[in-house]
Symmetry: C2
Subunit: 409 residues, 2 copies
Amino acid sequence: MAVNYQLPTPASLHPVPGITLGYAEAHIRKPNRKDMLLVVLDPGTRAAGVFTQNRFCAAPVTLCRNYLEYTMETRALIINTGCANAGTGDIGMTNARATTKAVADALHIKPQQVLPFSTGVILEHLPMDRLLAGIPHCIANLKPDGWFDAAHAIMTTDTVPKAVSKQIQIGGKTVTITGISKGAGMIQPNMATMLGFIATDAVVGPDVLQAMVKHAADASFNSITIDGDTSTNDSFVLIATGKAGHAQINGEGTAEYGQLQLAVNDVAIELAQAIVRDGEGATKFITIKVEGGKTHAECMKIAKAIGHSPLVKTAFFASDPNLGRILAAIGYAGVNDLDPTTLKLYLGDVLVAENGGRAASYKEEDGVRVMKAAEILIRVELNRGREKCTLWTCDFSYDYVKINADYRS
Amino acid sequence: MAVNYQLPTPASLHPVPGITLGYAEAHIRKPNRKDMLLVVLDPGTRAAGVFTQNRFCAAPVTLCRNYLEYTMETRALIINTGCANAGTGDIGMTNARATTKAVADALHIKPQQVLPFSTGVILEHLPMDRLLAGIPHCIANLKPDGWFDAAHAIMTTDTVPKAVSKQIQIGGKTVTITGISKGAGMIQPNMATMLGFIATDAVVGPDVLQAMVKHAADASFNSITIDGDTSTNDSFVLIATGKAGHAQINGEGTAEYGQLQLAVNDVAIELAQAIVRDGEGATKFITIKVEGGKTHAECMKIAKAIGHSPLVKTAFFASDPNLGRILAAIGYAGVNDLDPTTLKLYLGDVLVAENGGRAASYKEEDGVRVMKAAEILIRVELNRGREKCTLWTCDFSYDYVKINADYRS
């Protein structure tokens, strides 16, 4: 079960003016489950995205990048689970194009205005007959308050749907920000998580969204890790329909930009944390803060070394304060001039290590107390600069192995 | 149980002239197990070592580096399990020094001639009373044919002792090379594995051993990974007693150097592979070959991305040819100009992927056949250069989690 996760309800998710959503049970991989989602966007909508840096990126990712570069107006997203359409060569590109064309024909728009997304097993081809047959079903149930079903329709090994909604005021107008995400394994996003979509009715100028989606990704999906595996399909898209009626936001410097960025970040962080809370087999939600570094990059190196270490993650699963494993991870993180005698390691409020060894004040029972909680903070104070970072991760349990050993079977 | 591992026997391990070994049951962490080893070296012995690059390296590692740099003649090694003496600050250094002094006093040599090694739990202090009390017991049972017991005395979570012995002819004389190693978790050696010791009676000049130990480490311990965790205590030491009676080997260029290096590499590779075969919870022994790269470093990046991926490792545990996970790992390995359409992926003798997707000839049953074996070869042909590498690793099972969640308890 997801760690300390507040399930969304249909009522908690505000519709975003200018957007309707419809799903299908298309039997992409398994029967009788929502496995396709169509999101239809009103004319005038802007979209921007960030995508996986995996060199083996999926065909739909290649197509999304391409379409977003050359298309000013995105009008639809089409998403399937069950098959990632990655490692599928030329046939994969043909299938992704055929999917966008079928959606475009049905909606009387251009294929380049349709962004395709796939998630699921790699190295297998899309079942095109069933996928194309699913599109009319998606269209048939399009509705503005489809966000709750949409969050279900993009789940794979997720145990809970992930959706967050928020409203703010800009220029006296109510602006809605609603997003969904999915992902529970193969999660060390390097640009964005497997799938994340956030939509708002804010009114933004042409260059605003790309900056905003990048900032939001860095603050959220790029700051989580479950298993260190960067997916072939990571995609995070930010959509603005421009229906909210306030004056258009242009440029990063304005107060309104700041307001909107903050709200988008909040939604993105909550969606990203939801992915970690629902990490495959997760029983603990772990926040790693590395502070006092010379650069953000070195802080993140250390945070990721801790967050990826199977030894650290299994110790947290066992609630065993075998904290030397954290020191070992800090030591091998690749910060070559790191002085182990000047850093401090805290577990929650407990000082664990300083001066290159165990803190004189540290008592095993304090470590046990912190480790037993479902939410744990690891804080490393490097004492060599002013940069810092935060990484969210989870523990490593029997169930992680079980889920991933059984995934295809 | 270790994968396809041939247990050593006492008779299979040749004594190395000039070396005696003695162990103790010193109750460092647990009672009634061999947990200390003393290796005594005749005058005239040379030693060289490579050590962990972890910045949080253990006190004995610091002392070993120091002593090896300034001491021409090493006369003893003292090794304990149960406590790593890492993350122990100034007290750790004091304890490591006190250990070498006690051994030196008992053997009438200098502390700088004694190399200390520790392995076990990090962040705890050595139980100095029990450790010092163990030294006379080690001395009391010193014997030339102590290698089999020695291999047992350095085990921690190892399920089998690791020892290899080999004899070659140099200049008409028989030269013996015998080695032991230990390690089953926290294994991604970056210089050398947790503990590896190889001794020979070959006669070598002063600068030969340091080159030889480095080459041997790169070919063996630096080419294995179990969980990607680089230990605080990795140490690999090569010892030459000079008793074999052939003409002294000087410099890397000679035929005799080549002969000895090859034999030392063979022993080191077998010891390193033994660590992988006995990897915590391992059920498969996996060889990853990456060929046709521009540089050795980029080949190793890709091999390690595959070898560290929890998703790949759990798929191998399940014998499930979910081979897209390997493509994903290749894609995120960090080789930024990698072209996924020109590489080929083989599983054993089966071509799995080419042209950016599944090979037309690939059949699932062929993948299943290869995956079911206990020994599996993954081969990636990059087709962009002439460099290559080999990495040995194991799968990731329930038992890995169990062993590491329970290790201290």
